[in-house]
Symmetry: C2
């Protein structure tokens, strides 16, 4: 083992709908990328996953929620793309808030765990 180790706490939330992961860290990263770049293929590239994988993730989210989180945009200079629906933006925001609140609420425990870990 190295002499000094970076100590950190990684939390991950998975919203399950039966056996399907309706939402998780990878899917939320993808939503954020689609929001930024306006295309599933470019968002896939940024997240180092295949277009097929990204498309499947979008499809699963759209199936698991009452209304789609991502919709296609026709026309425009790139010949169309994708964007988040109002629900998609809302869900992405709630998920990040969830992560932030969890991290804040467990600060005391994390600090106390950290004291007992080798530096």
């Amino acid at each position: 083992m190295q002499k000094t180790n970076k100590l950190y706490c990684r939390s991950r939330y998975r919203i399950m709908s039966g056996n399907e992961i309706a939402l998780g860290p990878g899917k939320v990263d993808l939503l954020e990328s689609i929001h930024k770049v306006g295309s599933i293929s470019e968002a896939a590239r940024q997240n180092h996953i295949s277009y097929r994988r990204a498309w499947n993730m979008v499809n699963t989210m759209n199936q698991c929620f009452n209304k789609p989180l991502v919709e296609s945009v026709t026309g425009g200079k790139g010949g169309g793309g994708a964007k988040l629906t109002p629900l998609g933006e809302k869900i992405k925001t709630i998920y990040r808030k969830m992560e932030a609140k969890a991290s804040l609420s467990t600060k005391e425990e994390w600090n106390s765990l950290k004291k007992h870990l080798k530096k």
Copy 2:
């Protein structure tokens, strides 16, 4: 997809020390089993993992923390076993508290996400 889906939120915390998982859900389950049954091999069986895997997990925890979390017990009717050290008990308790606090603090977000998921 089925007609009705069980909706739930699964959270998982990983305490990282460099590239090593010092503590995570599997390791804490193992600590709890060792605490109950007093043996690594029996705890491994209960957690459906091999003895080798369980032993490696214990070894990683013992290496990552300042002091061991699990120690061997010599003698006794079974010819010895394993038990948690005071630090082991403490760490297991802190981790479970962390999970409970995170779940409590994100209740509002989870309820709001749930409303938008297909039943």
